[in-house]
Symmetry: D2
Amino acid sequence: MSKLHVGVIGASGYGGAELVRLLLRHPHVQVTAVSSHQYTGQTLASLYPGFQDVCDLTFVEQDEVIAKSDCVFAALPSGYSEPIAEACVQQGKKFIDLGADFRLKDADVYEQWYDHSFQNEKLHADAVYGLSEIYHDEIEQASVIGNPGCYPTSAALGCYPVLKNHWAKGMPIIIDSKSGVTGSGKKLTEGTHFPRTNEAFAPYKVGCHRHTPEIEQTLSGFAEEPVQVTFVPHLLPINRGIVSTIYLHCTKKVDLEQIHQLYVDTYADAPFVRVLDLGKTADLKFVKYSNYCDISLHMDEHTGMFIVVSCIDNMVKGAAGQAIQNMNIMYHFEEDAGLKGIAPSF
Amino acid sequence: MSKLHVGVIGASGYGGAELVRLLLRHPHVQVTAVSSHQYTGQTLASLYPGFQDVCDLTFVEQDEVIAKSDCVFAALPSGYSEPIAEACVQQGKKFIDLGADFRLKDADVYEQWYDHSFQNEKLHADAVYGLSEIYHDEIEQASVIGNPGCYPTSAALGCYPVLKNHWAKGMPIIIDSKSGVTGSGKKLTEGTHFPRTNEAFAPYKVGCHRHTPEIEQTLSGFAEEPVQVTFVPHLLPINRGIVSTIYLHCTKKVDLEQIHQLYVDTYADAPFVRVLDLGKTADLKFVKYSNYCDISLHMDEHTGMFIVVSCIDNMVKGAAGQAIQNMNIMYHFEEDAGLKGIAPSF
Amino acid sequence: MSKLHVGVIGASGYGGAELVRLLLRHPHVQVTAVSSHQYTGQTLASLYPGFQDVCDLTFVEQDEVIAKSDCVFAALPSGYSEPIAEACVQQGKKFIDLGADFRLKDADVYEQWYDHSFQNEKLHADAVYGLSEIYHDEIEQASVIGNPGCYPTSAALGCYPVLKNHWAKGMPIIIDSKSGVTGSGKKLTEGTHFPRTNEAFAPYKVGCHRHTPEIEQTLSGFAEEPVQVTFVPHLLPINRGIVSTIYLHCTKKVDLEQIHQLYVDTYADAPFVRVLDLGKTADLKFVKYSNYCDISLHMDEHTGMFIVVSCIDNMVKGAAGQAIQNMNIMYHFEEDAGLKGIAPSF
Amino acid sequence: MSKLHVGVIGASGYGGAELVRLLLRHPHVQVTAVSSHQYTGQTLASLYPGFQDVCDLTFVEQDEVIAKSDCVFAALPSGYSEPIAEACVQQGKKFIDLGADFRLKDADVYEQWYDHSFQNEKLHADAVYGLSEIYHDEIEQASVIGNPGCYPTSAALGCYPVLKNHWAKGMPIIIDSKSGVTGSGKKLTEGTHFPRTNEAFAPYKVGCHRHTPEIEQTLSGFAEEPVQVTFVPHLLPINRGIVSTIYLHCTKKVDLEQIHQLYVDTYADAPFVRVLDLGKTADLKFVKYSNYCDISLHMDEHTGMFIVVSCIDNMVKGAAGQAIQNMNIMYHFEEDAGLKGIAPSF
């Protein structure tokens, strides 16, 4: 079988570089070109020495990436993906965007949070939100995918079964998330300088993180009613992984065993969602460097609070891995092609 | 001025060793004896080499510690402190317990969570809960202090102003806490083995941690009505520090500026509570190795959720430092004697 | 093609569990059985939750592992592998030992450092030291492989070209190595308790580590004369990786460019040894979780000291990965089958 | 007693900020002014929130610092300290430079490594190298102190006894050092970005670090003959601390016990150098956040190599702490005034 030609625009950043790393192991694709605005002409291996001897790609212009690829990925700051999507659609190529440009459906909400506006509304209307487990059929048909954000992926997979079944109707939801530092990307900042970050811990953008509207859009879609969340992200002094501790109230009279059964049934066919046995607690340790989302369920009996713990690797299931999973769905590859590895336990 | 003679029972554990480290710098005390059940006859410096050349104390029996001290500290597993308290009271000495035995006032609740029962009820009735900022006057008069737990200290200081003033009446409270590994102590466990803990993160004892009843007892006392909390602790892969992210609803119609003013006013005279300016976020980085509790206040405007971030060093303000602060109050030393250091910022 | 049946004895420890993790991705093998003395009857996934849904193996007795496998791996404390090797040889199976029992050729040296003696001398005489790059042909013919230790692998690959070519004849060699904590294994110890290890650093077993005789045996074999080394290992507060900084003097009048060319030529056909360009410095970051050994070469011009920096992942190239590489050689699989992944760069 | 007025020029960097933190606890000094080129007009607490409520100093111009202080400290990049020293000497003030400008005595060597030249040679001739334990008497008389670099401090204290006594005459010395990331300072760099640095380890500037000539100048002074060293620094993924593993050969026929006795005797009166008992190994864990230098001594019996392990906190004994120790000596304070704390052990 001839291999699918894929390219990555914005491959010098963390999301793009991780994508290339994973794509190199994919049995059905060949990475034909990568681009980087800042590093054009340099090799990927010069930036990330782990690629030496394995990948001799040099960063080219993004037009060359599009020209050489059947399926184009982009991992760019917000505002840059629309013209790329347009070019791909015109040339009959598929486009998977790891950035934020195709995640939000409401133009006003997008503009409010990202300071850009939609130029081509139809493109956004046709784009599919790439939460692989939930929108599998739409993804299969899509030309443009807005790959979900890392926090929204962990939150959405954690809440889907109860919201979809209206077991938590009208209830406030609190999402207390903790993410490793790779979530902040490759850019140098005071907040990611080693001596500042190491042995530190704090929340940031309390109640005002850009992923809030994305989470609300997704959960509202599940619940078929407007859902509001209080979302507080925290920066963990580790490289990778997100744990979202989600607090909600079940309105339906069910016990934890029944909720657990609902989750197990809902994700029975999802190759990358593991609902842990009751009594166990999800830990990002066991999803790190893998495409798994581990979910554990808990009930605080004395307050009646239902607590979901949802763990992913922010760079894999929260970015590059899910993008590949979406490509697999779009091209009818096995859903886990190129994504079979499990977390190293130590 | 002759120095106060103090001794530490259980000085081989983390809480006790930290207490000795801090007491050695205290201008008004002399550490006269330390004990350890397991290491009797060995020196403190053999266990913790940092003490070499600075402290030549050898672990003795606990009776010798009591005999040689005016003020006795104990840092023991639950169930061991009652007879020590009894002996101290009989001999006219003061006793500060870093363990859990004198924290809970209700004998049934204590038995339910700690599997021990009160033998001498009067002792417990007379003991004072050593939350220094709130119970200053009672501490001043006390003979026996139950030093608060680490999580309860961060939670209580974070909630006190709004609860005391009935601004959050009848509302559910969620406390999502994250603690460094020293909170688990010196004992070797699978969960604190370096390769297991490092680059990992997860909650534990979700909704069923022993500190829950202590937090509820304290908050109920503030609110003068029964308060229930959903408390979820997490293990941070760092040595020290607790961040509690507290979610509650204000029932009183006040804005964030008014709440902030209330916190500022409430803690105006508290030398170790710093209410950060609005717009700033507390970080355990800036309290580590110090006795400070840093509190920042936030409002999620779109859901109306009021969020408190409360940070302490679990070993200092959450244990040994607060115990010394209580001693300072009991003996009319300056409240910050021996506790003046600030966090190293890096 | 039917898959090779492989089994792992001692799969509950770090070396064995890593081996299973890697073997699960190997295209030509099937893991048929795993054993653990301590956890017989339990699943691998109960011990290491990352295996959930991917591997449903239950620990069985070691005889069952041998019976069900064509190629048997063992990752056991020293002294346990000889009878397993014997059984394998009798039953015409191949055996790869990740422990120390078949590394040392001299019975007296083995007894001196490991407190066990050889029972079956022929077995040891026939066993091949599995340093894949150097002993490729012997490995191809071997029935029993003594897989090299982690430190010796990094040291030997770093020194081989100059010693083999007698460019550093008769010179003292200093090997200052630093290893991540997984090198100490799964066993709980004071020295690997998180709060003790984190933010700490020190050498250990200075000049008296068990890997010293193994290193000297290997380097002496290269040099065809007795080589002595001063070897000092240090414990790095990270999970994985070894950096060996090796100090030696070239006796041959060559400059750094010539030495570099020698290294490049020597390892031209080695798929997992990367000799970095002059001016670059090897970093364990870029070999972590991979089977690569990265080597950089340096000259301190003012003292004439030649310095080699050799980096590996102690659990992969230093243990499980090299064992698989040896299996690949023994069974004429591609040498990198199942080992193609590169280090995540972040 | 009225307090000594001290000021810190360059207090926004790590060295300067650490100096202020320590000086705030010093019983005999008052910090009267701090300066920062970049942050003039802002408060120290705005940069380092740990100072809030404890220190309300605002960064002023450096002339104001000099005017308000009897003793002036500077912690600046190389090349900026000479005019400050000149001003201090003219105004009869003492000056302690934490930078590199007054460390090297040879103008050519300084120019070669630092790209600046001496403007006022007499100033450099009169300046004293502030290695407190060794040059105590000269420091007592000095007006200008060149405070030693962090690596040179650990190396010099580790080698002094054997070199001073000519027990290692003419022998090559290898210094393999490992430093925490604070040694790189506050400036953002690719190499100190958290996801790059965390779980990584590598040497840097192999054989060509600027501290090499400083180490050689100091050791040559001890030995009274030219000493050359091979010095290789490594970056540890932790915040603080340096371990130097020093390899040398004793030319004098002495055993380890005799060498140990020499070290014990040499440092008998040094309050901050602890020579550990034979059999123990120095660990930066037990010097962190303290002014101690812990030294352990080892002999590799089979090669005759003598190995010294020397540990300090790079920011304290390697910078701010030693500067204060020098001030204490200059002003006849107790040598350990303001420096009494020991390392937290966890």
